[in-house]
């Protein structure tokens, strides 16, 4: 026979996701790429931590900065997304300004913790 129904369903799912994704505005795609970049960096750091986590505070700050900035980017995406009804009244520039400010504070803390 051919592929099982589970695989067919998975294929169909992936295809529909892909086609839907191309419809998203470029803004959001940028943010998605940024989030992926941050997550990848965090994963690499954790992977390298297997070799040796000295100094531990540096490792933590590195990982947490990536995770933090990814989180903030996700928040930005939520706020900027026009299809999101909750944040209709929030201008995207305001969300962007919040994103920048929170990032700056996060990085200050990270730098302090980096040692």
């Amino acid at each position: 026979m051919g592929k099982s129904s589970a695989t067919k369903d998975a294929e169909a799912l992936v295809n529909s996701l892909r086609s839907a994704y191309t419809a998203t505005p470029t803004n959001l795609k940028i943010i998605d790429v940024y989030v992926l970049f941050a997550i990848f960096t965090a994963v690499i750091q954790v992977y390298m931590a297997i070799v040796g986590s000295f100094p531990f505070n540096s490792f933590l700050s590195g990982v947490l900065s990536c995770i933090g900035t990814a989180v903030l980017a996700v928040c930005l995406r939520i706020q900027v997304n026009k299809e999101n009804k909750e944040f209709k009244d929030l201008p995207p520039e305001r969300a962007y300004a919040d994103f920048v400010l929170c990032n700056l504070v996060l990085h200050l803390v990270i730098m302090n913790f980096l040692g």
Binding site: I44, M48, G52, A97, N112
Partner: protein, 688 residues
């Protein structure tokens, strides 16, 4: 019977000590040159100058001409000046008596008249001493000046009035303190008065003074070896005194008085001899003043009218039997001059440690070339040891007995040394009970060989040897020690006992186990045999013995801690290696670079993704004002990030926060403007 009694008495008398007195010799001369050193060719005062000059005169040392010139100048100045004090006049005249400077009669007569006034107004003993003494000195230095003392009788009585019943004198009538030194200078002053006006003095007064002298001599202290001296408080009214200065003053006074009084003083000769012995027993004094007192007194004793002491001395008090030394004896006066014709007899020999004496009564032969009395050979039964020889001086001329004092029997300590024969030296290890000899080794104590033995705690060590004196008798040395030294430097010393000539020591290790602190191992053996009269005393390393002792029980005493090597205590200590927290291991550099590359990879991926999304900067504001704000906004963010970088590298939190505050305010302002512009432009787009 009578002879036996006599011998008994003599043996009892031998309890008094023996000593050797030596007359003045060259060592005194060199000491005088050392002690009396003038600074800039003159001494500090006339008194010191006189002491130095008189000492040199007695010893026969010539004075240096530059000292004489400088001193004469000060002497002449003092004598010529009409305002000199009495004391200075006295000292200057004393110095002049030795130096004989150029002075004319006028000076002398001027001084003499002043001195006579001083005598009339004198109130204390010192004033009388200086004034009368000065007049006597003038009489001795020039014959043309009239020094006849008017009212000599009253002067004599005045001085005599200050005497006390015990023979000592007071310095003045208001001061009740008496001193022996004062007695000496009083007698000298009285002698001076007599010499200045002999016809006027009442004879009874002179006898009274004779009584005083006898009482004074009765108060003399005596040492065991026959020396007499006068004790004196350290400080009296005239300054610091000592037994030496007091005895010296008394001797001068007595001899001066004896010289001027024409009748016999009947003084006991042995007291003068005893005083001379006291001065000689001082040896070489350490200070210039003491040397002066000693020599001044001996000079007045040398030629006195009472009795001249003769000193018996030995050039060598240690005689060697091996070298066959001869016993030599010298008899001189105190200053070392020749004695009259006499012979010396050796009467008795006492050996130390035993009370009996052998009576010899042997004459010593006289060697006129060296002026030495000697014995050809020592008596036969003199073995190595310490003895006291008793000599007697016999004057040949019966007239000399009145002039010289010989002192009866003179006892002199003499050491006779000899070579002690050491032989039959054996070391053996014995089995305990039966005494069987397990190992026996003979040692040649004169040689160098060493032995090595071994023993356990059940055995004994025996060391034996024989000591024979030169004459073949038994000899017990002062030191006969056997020392065992363990490897750990713990030492044990044992005394070797003897019976007759056999010396033996047996170390029973069973009983000594505790004393040795149960230390097994190698013990070095050392033997010391020595004595003052043994010419071949030795300290010999015999060898070693391996001792096997049982284990120490719990409660055994520990060996005493050995003295630390001092250099170990105060020397540098061992280097301390500090344990630092080891630096944590860092990953190798390559790994870090790979990590860097891996981490940058997502960033590259991010950029690639942005490109694929075809990002552009279309919405960037075009107009100038918003454009600047936009640029400033981006620059502001870059600046904040740079600040963070600097914070990580260098700065601390406080400076960072300060800078961040400024930048943050700027950024807020700029950002607000930019984003407001963007928002308004997008709102316009929406509505449009």
């Amino acid at each position: 019977m009578g002879k036996l009694l006599g011998i008994l008495i003599l043996t009892l008398l031998c309890i008094c000590e023996a000593a050797i007195f030596r007359p003045i010799s060259d060592s005194h001369r060199s000491a005088a040159l050392d002690l009396f050193t003038p600074k800039h060719a003159s001494f500090k005062s006339l008194e010191e100058t006189y002491e130095a000059l008189r000492t040199f005169e007695v010893l026969g040392i010539d004075q240096q001409p530059d000292i004489k010139a400088a001193t004469c100048k000060s002497v002449v100045d003092t004598l010529r000046s009409p305002s000199s004090a009495l004391k200075d006049l006295f000292q200057a005249l004393r110095v002049n008596g030795v130096l004989k400077c150029e002075l004319n009669e006028e000076t002398f007569s001027g001084i003499a008249s002043r001195l006579k006034d001083f005598v009339k107004t004198a109130s204390s003993l010192i004033d009388y001493y200086y004034s009368v003494g000065s007049l006597v000195l003038i009489k001795g230095q020039t014959s043309e000046v009239d020094v006849h003392l008017g009212g000599a009788d009253s002067v004599f009585r005045a001085i005599k009035a200050l005497s006390q019943s015990d023979g000592r004198w007071r310095y003045s009538s208001n001061n009740p303190e008496s001193s022996t030194f004062a007695a000496g200078i009083a007698l000298e002053s009285l002698a001076g008065v007599i010499s200045l006006a002999s016809s006027e003095i009442d004879h009874s007064l002179i006898s009274l003074v004779k009584n005083d002298i006898s009482k004074l001599l009765d108060g003399a202290e005596k040492y065991d070896d026959g020396a007499y001296y006068f004790d004196q408080k350290p400080v009296d009214a005239h300054g610091h005194q000592s037994p030496l200065s007091a005895s010296s003053a008394v001797v001068r006074g007595i001899t001066a008085f004896a010289t001027v009084s024409d009748e016999d003083l009947n003084l006991p000769g042995d007291k003068i001899l005893g005083l001379a012995r006291f001065f000689l027993s001082v040896g070489i004094p350490g200070s210039a003043e003491d040397l002066f007192y000693q020599l001044d007194a001996l000079a007045s004793v040398e030629n006195n009218r009472v009795s001249i002491p003769l000193i018996l001395s030995l050039p060598a008090a240690v005689l060697s039997l091996t070298r066959k030394d001869q016993l030599k004896v010298k008899v001189n006066t105190v200053l070392g001059s020749a004695a009259p014709s006499l012979s010396v007899k050796l009467k008795q020999i006492f050996s130390s440690g035993s009370k009996d004496a052998s009576i010899i009564d042997q004459d010593l032969k006289f060697d006129p070339e060296n002026a030495v009395h000697f014995l050809d050979a020592l008596p036969e039964n003199i073995d190595a040891g310490s003895y006291i020889f008793s000599f007697e001086i016999v004057l040949h001329n019966p007239e000399d007995k009145k002039i010289y004092a010989t002192g009866g029997r003179t006892k002199v300590p003499i050491s006779v040394t000899g070579f002690v024969k050491v032989d039959h030296a054996d070391v053996a290890v014995l089995d305990s009970d039966l005494g069987n000899v397990e190992t026996q080794k003979r040692i040649d104590l004169a040689g160098d060989n060493t032995i090595s033995l071994s023993a356990n705690h059940l055995q004994k060590l025996r060391l034996s040897f024989q000591l024979t004196s030169p004459l073949g008798h038994s000899f017990k040395p002062h030191q006969a020690f056997l020392k065992l030294i363990h490897e750990s430097k713990v030492e044990h010393i044992f005394v070797v006992g003897n019976s007759g000539i056999f010396f033996e020591i047996i170390l029973d290790f069973l009983g000594l186990v505790e004393k040795f602190f149960y230390l097994s191992g190698r013990y070095d053996i050392q033997l010391t045999v020595g004595d003052a009269v043994m010419e071949n005393s030795f300290f010999r390393h015999l060898g070693s013995i391996e001792l096997d002792l049982p284990e120490a029980p719990e409660k055994a005493a520990r060996p005493p801690p050995q003295p630390l090597d001092l250099s170990a205590r105060f020397g540098p200590k061992a280097e301390i290696s500090h344990i630092f927290r080891a630096p944590e291991k860092r990953p190798p550099k390559e790994l870090s670079f790979i990590f860097l590359a891996l981490v940058l990879l997502p960033f590259v991926g991010f950029l690639v993704g942005l490109l694929r999304l075809q990002v552009n900067l279309k919405n960037f504001p075009k107009a100038s004002a918003p454009a600047t704000f936009a640029i400033l906004f981006h620059l502001g963010i870059a600046a904040v990030l740079t600040l963070y970088l600097l914070f990580w590298l260098k700065l601390n939190l406080f400076t960072t926060l300060k800078a961040l505050g400024f930048l943050g305010i700027f950024l807020m302002f700029v950002g607000h403007r930019t984003l407001a512009y963007l928002a308004s432009s997008s709102a316009k787009l929406k509505s449009a």
